[in-house]
């Protein structure tokens, strides 16, 4: 059930109506939990049990950690929780990858001629809710937050349907306190939610899904395309993944607003960043801050000297890459970003490189470096990533895009750039507040109509659903 589908609209309308009609907080939260489980079950009802198990298990573990007297018991419970949740994630996501890696070792002792891959279906959103439940148990262990008393609240924290499948990765300290009191209906928040949802819908349907029509075929057979086409497809993929993922986040945040709840911001104009380190503070913010707080800092952060810092950066990004998927392309992508961050930190940048006049150049270089990373990320395997890189850097002939396609691509790139600059330099919120009611309403209606007309239609699953 995709956000842009009729089925989701029906679920949303029913849930919204019921939620605001009920006057008991418990009933409201129960409604949201039921809607969330229904939303999740629409993909695969069996995995609802896994989700509920994870929620109930960590709920009780956290209670146990809080009430435990001895540090060793607290630590044992934490380790147990991490083993179970990461074990589930590992089983579903990495078993076949590890079997493939271990195949050269086990091959001599088996009669099989191919790695014994298992038929495992990856539960949707498992990477996201695993991170959320880990952050909850760790925060309780660190005594940053008290253990939640109500299972219903904890269930909603983990399963709340706008963020369940692809984030933003919600922190318990931010979300659980919002469930304490009965919220009053506020039209302003619903309107804000509608605007954010529309923004996300436009990004997804009008830009990301359109660009996919060029990117997918090119990256499915990169050896057949010329260098210019591969560069265009690589730029297009960077724009696509941004619009797809930030579009999802905008829609999720918008939906949550309609229920009077806040989800954290996940993107902040990342492609206007002037270096890679800045970009990672603006891209998938809930993920990068999670990595910082629960991986980079526990590894020692920048406290152990220069080389330990580089090591921690590289290791954190490597694991971040692996979190995205069980494949060498993701490992290489993580390593690439770890190296970029380490190099950025290591190099003694001369003062002149920070001049304001050079800002566009810094933005452009950062964007190109990011695009090279997304080329690894998008390739189906390391071999194809090699083909892409060889064609990107060695001018090669091959199939080229039609001029009309290049024109439309240029138009889309231009719209994204202009919209980003407008968001950076104009106070869009203030403009929206000052706009006369008919203009604001007309813009809202026209936006939804435009998104519908330009939506390419069937399919349209979000890229991050696969992680």
């Amino acid at each position: 059930m995709l956000f842009q589908s009729i089925e989701f609209f029906q679920l949303f309308v029913v849930t919204f109506g019921l939620y605001w009609t009920l006057q008991s907080q418990r009933l409201r939260l129960g409604t949201l939990v039921l809607a969330s489980l229904y939303f999740y079950a629409s993909w695969n009802p069996w995995f609802v049990f896994l989700l509920v198990f994870t929620a109930v298990f960590d709920f009780w573990i956290a209670r146990g950690i809080e009430s435990a007297q001895s540090p060793s018991r607290r630590r044992a419970l934490l380790v147990l929780s991490l083993c179970v949740t990461l074990g589930l994630l590992g089983f579903f996501k990495y078993t076949n990858f590890l079997l493939g890696v271990a195949w050269p070792v086990i091959r001599p002792v088996t009669s099989s001629t191919a790695p014994p891959f298992l038929k495992i279906i990856l539960p949707l959103g498992i990477s996201f809710y695993t991170f959320e439940t880990i952050s909850y148990v760790v925060d309780v262990y660190r005594r940053r937050i008290p253990a939640e008393r109500r299972l219903l609240n904890y269930m909603l924290f983990l399963t709340f349907f706008p963020h369940l499948i692809a984030g933003p990765i919600v922190r318990p300290g931010d979300f659980l306190p919002q469930l304490e009191r009965l919220r009053r209906f506020d039209w302003s928040r619903v309107e804000l939610g509608a605007r954010l949802f529309l923004l996300g819908l436009l990004k997804k349907a009008v830009i990301a899904d359109q660009l996919a029509q060029v990117v997918d075929p090119v990256y499915a057979a990169p050896a057949g395309f010329g260098s210019a086409t591969l560069w265009l497809a690589t730029f297009a993929y960077s724009i696509q993944i941004y619009c797809d993922f930030s579009g999802y986040s905008d829609m999720a945040i918008g939906c949550a607003h309609a229920f009077g709840l806040n989800l954290p911001m996940n993107f902040n104009l990342p492609y206007l960043s002037q270096n890679v380190a800045e970009l990672w503070t603006r891209w998938h913010i809930s993920f990068s801050t999670w990595l910082r707080d629960y991986l980079y800092i526990p590894l020692g952060g920048n406290r152990g000297g220069r080389f330990a810092t580089y090591r921690n950066l590289i290791l954190t990004m490597l694991l971040g890459g692996l979190w995205h998927g069980a494949g060498w392309t993701y490992v290489c992508w993580g390593l690439y970003h770890g190296l970029l961050l380490a190099i950025h930190r290591a190099l003694p940048w001369p003062r002149w490189t920070g001049r304001l006049a050079l800002a566009p150049l810094r933005v452009a270089i950062t964007f190109v470096l990011w695009c090279l990373g997304t080329a690894i990320f998008r390739a189906r395997n390391i071999g194809e990533a090699g083909v892409v890189f060889s064609r990107l850097f060695v001018p090669t002939r091959g199939a080229e895009l039609a001029p009309s396609v290049v024109f439309v691509l240029g138009l889309i790139f231009g719209v994204v750039l202009l919209a980003s600059l407008a968001a950076r330099f104009l106070d869009i919120e203030a403009i929206a507040r000052r706009a006369p009611v008919p203009v604001a309403a007309g813009a809202l209606a026209a936006g939804f109509l435009l998104a519908q007309v330009l939506s390419p239609g069937a399919g349209g699953a979000f890229i991050y659903f696969q992680f």
Partner: protein, 363 residues
Amino acid sequence: MQVRLRSSSQRAARILFLGAVLFFSGQLAVGVLLDRAPLSVRFPEAAAVLQRARAQNPPPDIVLFGSSRFMAAIAPSEIDQHLRASHAEPLPGVLPMAVLGGDFVSTEFLLDRMLAEGVRPRIALIEVSPDLVGRPPHLLSAQLERLFAWRDVMHWLPELVEADWSALLTARMIPAYHYRRELLGWWVGRPPPFLFAPAPEPWAPAGSAAPVVASASSAPAGQRTPPSNAPDDPTHGVERWARWLRRYRISQRCAAVLERVLARCRSEEITCILVEPPVASGHRALYGREVVTPYRALLDRLGRDYGVTFYDFGDRLPDTSFRDDSHVNHTGAIRFSALLAGAVIEPLWFGGEDRTTTTDSAP
């Protein structure tokens, strides 16, 4: 502060309410615009068929109306070859006017348009089958999408709700979404997608060939057939039809449309022949007594009232001639066309007995 909050909430409520009104007004306007759009926007297949009818010189003598079953089963060159083998020129001009998802509603529409444009054949072969007159009429959703305006929707409302209420809702309530491809194609002058990649150069490694352009299936609801490169499977689709033919009853409104078509043909002096195309054995097995009895009763009545002849080719081809349960493959098309030419067209056009087949006709 409280006052400001309240006023901002009121303003937001007004924006949302007015936005919703404008959104649905926009949808309504798009719907009305589409209802009045040229035929090529919503029903390009019909526009192409009518164009062919207009362009054929000399004008067609025999036209064939029907659905994808007829479309798959008629090979005009085979009919021509069959007639040429035993008759001298001039041979009748045969024009297939079957369309995907074609039923009596689309047949009536095409017949009316064709006559209005001055094309007047001498014979019309019309596809019939229990599937086309059953209730709910499963091909009606296709006509909803490409032919119906609000007035027609009101007329067919019970059947449309019964057949596919979600298609009814999206086609009428959010036409901007439902007809987005048609709208964009109309506006730009060619159908989307506007972004696509060419086929990769041949030196791409084997096995990496990509689906170059993802094209949405153009087959209307109820007319889904296996992809052309899929192996033939004469059982494909039986399950779905078994579901649809359960508790079979005749749709009186569909029967009425067929009667109107026959009446129009009679008034225009066009000889009308009803033809039931072949279906695979699995599909035929679905036609039990509860299906055949009312269906045959209807045909008997039409035969009496309008003097039309009915030819049943339902069981004339073996299962090896089928692509799925109700669409013939290439071999089936050649065999059926020969059967049709010998059993129906030849006796009708040249007179005399059917010399090539043992088709049991049921006048």
